[in-house]
């Protein structure tokens, strides 16, 4: 457990050989499936994006997105493809607002499938099993999921098509050294409460274990185990006892942070120990009777990441959108929607402190991914119900 780094060099070196073999195996299976698909005439999928050098040579115009890096993207081809299929776990209000100016600018539509991180990942893996991934680009706030997608050989390095200019704005431990995924946002887990029901606001994670919160708590925890990484982060920092104390208070469990806020807004529950900063911010800005805080002792930070799917049906449009999504313009819209950008050159969202002033807790996702089944089982044992295991 480290406080500010995603570094996993030890881990990755140890597992390199195995990972490599798995990668080969996964890749082979995938290409076999694709070959079969093409043989059956069931696919119009273009072949994999060619090496960036050849493509760069033929490119005439370059997108004016914030990274100023995407010299390699063929905009004409992108427009011809006309659409991007995005699988995302981000709040759709934010997704909509990022898509709109992109669509206005290029005339390329972005259709999205939105679900929780684990579900988005599960969907991509299922489609991979079917030999036909519908998504062109995937975004989920679970870096562990991206390690798995990478291991399965499902991602294509974005650097090859979009360029690596965006890398300079994103810390090295927030992106894949091989360039298959890059963090696009950082979600802080905050305490949120109903201001009508709570007169003396809680300050610390421990405060919510008080008996007065018996039957008064809610938390985000979908049946696919979407919220396990952040709860594990809390457990690693403050001990599993903290989670056990929460569980003893019979918290109401709902599928999304949005539903937690809803439960707090209508007074169904008084407080939550598991809420996204952006959803809490929106609720407060909308004048709902809620408030939120970043506990001093540390807040779990959950990086969301994005990657491009290998052999996607709309590789150029997806690359263009990826560039837009990660560019300063797209990221600014994310920030306006309440998200902290992964880019160091952007301000924090309205009313929220700069990340530097917070004690952020970030998981070692390689470790999380390696022990995920056991962690999920432990969550199931503590809280009961389904955790996707």
């Amino acid at each position: 457990m480290s406080e500010s780094t995603l570094s996993n060099t030890d881990q990755s070196q140890r597992t390199t050989r195995r990972t490599f073999l798995r990668y080969i195996a996964g890749g082979t299976a995938l290409s076999l499936a694709n070959a079969l698909l093409v043989a059956c005439g069931g696919s119009t999928t273009p072949t994999a994006a060619p090496a960036s050098t050849t493509q760069a040579a033929t490119t005439t115009n370059s997108p004016a997105a914030g990274t100023a890096s995407a010299g390699a993207i063929d905009i004409d081809k992108a427009k011809k493809e006309g659409v991007v299929q995005l699988y995302t776990s981000l709040d759709t209000q934010i997704v909509d607002s990022v898509i709109k100016p992109f669509k206005d600018k290029y005339g390329i539509d972005v259709q999205y499938y939105r679900a929780g991180s684990a579900q988005v990942t599960g969907k991509v893996l299922q489609e991979a099993d079917a030999g036909k991934i519908q998504a062109d680009m995937v975004d989920a706030s679970d870096v562990g999921a991206f390690l798995e997608l990478k291991r399965r050989g499902i991602l294509t390095p974005y650097q090859a098509v979009v360029g690596s200019a965006m890398n300079q704005f994103v810390a090295a431990d927030l992106r894949d050294p091989d360039g298959t995924w890059i963090a696009d946002r950082l979600t802080q887990v905050v305490i949120q409460y109903n201001t009508d029901l709570i007169k003396t606001p809680p300050q610390h994670w421990k405060d919510l274990t008080d008996q007065q919160y018996n039957g008064k708590l809610a938390f985000f925890g979908s049946s696919a185990g979407d919220s396990a990484p952040r709860l594990y982060t809390l457990a690693k920092a403050f001990g599993y006892e903290l989670l056990e104390s929460y569980a003893a208070l019979k918290p109401l469990r709902v599928d999304t942070p949005q539903l937690v806020t809803q439960a707090l807004e209508k007074g169904e529950r008084a407080a939550t120990f598991n809420m996204n900063d952006n959803i809490a911010q929106r609720s407060k800005l909308q004048g709902k009777p809620t408030a939120y805080l970043f506990p001093d002792e540390g807040v779990p930070t959950e990086p969301g990441a994005a990657g491009l799917i290998k052999n996607a049906a709309h590789p150029n449009a997806a690359a263009l959108f990826f560039d837009w999504w990660m560019g300063a313009e797209g990221q600014k819209i994310l920030v306006e929607g309440g998200k902290y950008s992964s880019r160091t050159d952007l301000e924090p969202p309205k009313e929220n402190p700069p990340l530097k002033s917070l004690k952020t807790l970030i998981l070692d996702y390689a470790e999380y991914q390696a022990n995920r089944p056991e962690i999920l089982q432990r969550m199931a044992k503590i809280f009961g119900g389904e955790w996707g295991v």
Partner: protein
């Protein structure tokens, strides 16, 4: 399956037999096609469910099956599902039978209104009812709980919808319609002379009820309760919405979790699914054996006349009971959704300041997924209802009018989907149709297949129940007078069971329009349905828009049902005229 002499043909002169040799092939072709289609959409996915449970095609192991019976995380959902099924069955009898009797056989006021409201309760997608019940009975903020606290001064609660009791109540208020509808039609088709002769012989009202009426409708009651219980197992929506917040998991929510997360664990999902298949087969075998000991031909060539029981002073108490049931099952949830749909903020009272129609604009015009979803759902529901009704009639016909070998298998196959929660159906369909020869995964066609397969039991049961009450001698009479097979079905059978076919069509159309549990695992970008849009919008906390879309959907379903009913009544009388002319 051999099709040589598939049905009990009346003796026909040699001459005419030769003349109609092509015509005689038609029934075999039609029935054979139906069997093949059924095998493809139910049998084939079920085979993949079996193979999947053994870890195939990747490995071959019994471990997933063993895990179902050895691990607490699998045993607990199994136990919870059993409690749910038994609970809803019993509750469906307690709610459904008194209502059916009251509306079918008594002089209770507003019988037709009560009848219509039960239908409405069945129409409301149960996950929407569940949402409404959260608003009504949320442990702290629920309207009804706040009212109780205000009256009685409780400090909290007192009722908690997020509990086993809550799940059973909300689901029973939906599935009791099965028990009600079957009992109601059985009571209505009882010929009055049966009871009257008992009365003439001096039997008391209670004795008639006990010795004549109840035994005659008992199969309908048990059949209904069984359907209710088995269907409750499959209702993923309310189980997820009301059970999950309290950490109560059922088999479908367990399967959804196992398959919904990453990596998708087909083997475990398949193994858990098989347990549900097993439960269904057990349930159906019991029902079948019970049914076979009775004779049910209570409808003959003559018209029937039912006897009305005067209630006297019990009129109003019975009415109050019936009214309460339909208020809880239909009116209250609908009102809550209506209020939310027209509110800016659904938690506040609907004052002029809070009134808005922008939610409808969002649901029907501005939200892309929602508008696409509406179109998709209509295409799918109409397609599934039409194909499903035809298939249902043919399967029921094979079972009861032919001696085709393996017809029992066919019948079981057509009933099995009832025990497959949509989630389970999806598990089988995914595994069957993600690989050659038929790749449907990721297209809208897999949803059409899912809807037909999932709802075929309702169509078969409807047609089957009706056929069982029609004496084959009526069709035989037509065949003897040289009517072709198709004519005998079209002119004799179809008109006689017309109302059952309409019911079957509606029984498929209505749930298809709002099907959630299979859809949520099978839909892809572009094939979103109304239920997906509703579920996803609700996930994002946009309850006002959800309510607007729900109100729209329910309105459409209501209008469709009424229109359809009106049309068929009209066309029905024309057909009767035709028959009389001939």
């Amino acid at each position: 399956m051999r099709a040589e002499t598939p049905f009990n043909q009346p003796q026909i002169a040699d001459e005419s037999r030769r003349k109609f040799s092509i015509e005689q092939a038609i029934p075999n072709l039609v029935l054979g096609g139906a069997v093949l289609f059924l095998l493809g959409i139910v049998g084939y996915p079920l085979i993949w469910l079996l193979l999947g449970a053994l870890g195939l095609p990747k490995t071959f192991t019994a471990a997933p099956l063993l895990r179902v019976f050895t691990e607490t995380r699998n045993l607990t959902p199994l136990k919870n599902s059993l409690i749910l099924a038994v609970g809803t069955s019993l509750l469906s009898v307690l709610l459904g039978v008194p209502l059916a009797w009251a509306t079918a056989r008594t002089d209770m006021p507003l019988r037709r209104v009560i009848h219509a409201l039960v239908a409405l309760a069945f129409i409301l997608p149960p996950y929407l009812t569940a949402l409404a019940w959260i608003i009504l009975l949320g442990p702290n903020a629920g309207h009804f709980n706040r009212l109780l606290r205000w009256i009685f001064g409780f400090s909290e609660g007192p009722l908690n919808i997020f509990s086993m009791g809550g799940v059973i109540l909300v689901i029973a208020l939906h599935v009791f319609a099965f028990t009600y509808l079957l009992t109601h039609s059985a009571l209505q088709s009882l010929d009055a002379p049966l009871e009257e002769s008992a009365q003439v012989l001096g039997a008391s009202r209670a004795t008639i009820m006990r010795r004549i009426t109840l035994p005659l409708v008992a199969p309908a009651v048990t059949g209904g309760a069984l359907l209710a219980g088995v269907d409750s197992l499959a209702l993923f929506g309310p189980q997820a919405l009301l059970g999950s917040p309290a950490q109560i998991s059922f088999l479908p929510t367990r399967i959804y979790s196992v398959l919904g997360s990453y990596p998708p664990r087909y083997a475990d999902a398949s193994a858990l699914s098989l347990i549900l298949v097993l439960l269904t087969v057990i349930g159906l075998t019991i029902q079948r054996n019970y049914l076979e000991r009775q004779s049910f031909i209570t409808v003959s060539g003559r018209g029937i006349r039912t006897r009305v029981v005067p209630l006297g002073r019990w009129k109003w108490p019975l009415f109050l009971f019936c009214a309460l049931v339909v208020i809880l099952a239909a009116i209250a949830p609908l009102m809550v959704l209506l209020l939310a749909a027209f509110s800016k903020v659904w938690t506040s009272p609907l004052t002029p300041d809070n009134f808005t129609i922008t939610n409808f604009h969002a649901a029907l015009i501005s939200n892309q997924i929602s508008t696409r979803a509406i179109l998709n759902s209509f295409k799918l529901a109409i397609g599934a209802a039409t194909l499903g009704t035809i298939l249902g009639l043919l399967i029921a016909y094979i079972d009861q009018r032919t001696n085709l070998r393996g017809r029992r298998v066919c019948d079981y196959l057509a009933i099995l989907p009832l025990g497959l929660p949509g989630t389970v159906m999806a598990v089988g369909l995914i595994q069957a149709f993600i690989r050659p020869p038929i790749q449907l995964y990721g297209t809208i066609w897999i949803l059409l297949v899912a809807y037909i397969a999932r709802h075929i039991p309702l169509a078969v049961r409807s047609a089957s129940g009706a056929l069982r009450q029609i004496d084959p001698s009526l069709e035989e009479a037509a065949r003897i007078t040289n009517a072709s097979w198709l004519q005998s079905i079209r002119l004799i059978l179809a008109p006689l069971i017309r109302s059952s076919l309409v019911v079957a069509w509606l029984l498929i159309f209505i749930p298809s329009l709002g099907e959630l549990s299979a859809t949520i695992l099978l839909y892809a970008n572009g094939s979103e349905t109304i239920s997906v849009a509703l579920f996803r919008l609700n996930d994002l906390g946009q309850l006002e828009v959800v309510a607007a879309l729900a109100v729209f959907t329910i309105t459409v379903i209501l209008v469709t049902s009424l229109l359809l009913q009106w049309l068929t009544t009209r066309r029905g009388s024309q057909i009767t005229d035709q028959i009389q002319v001939t």
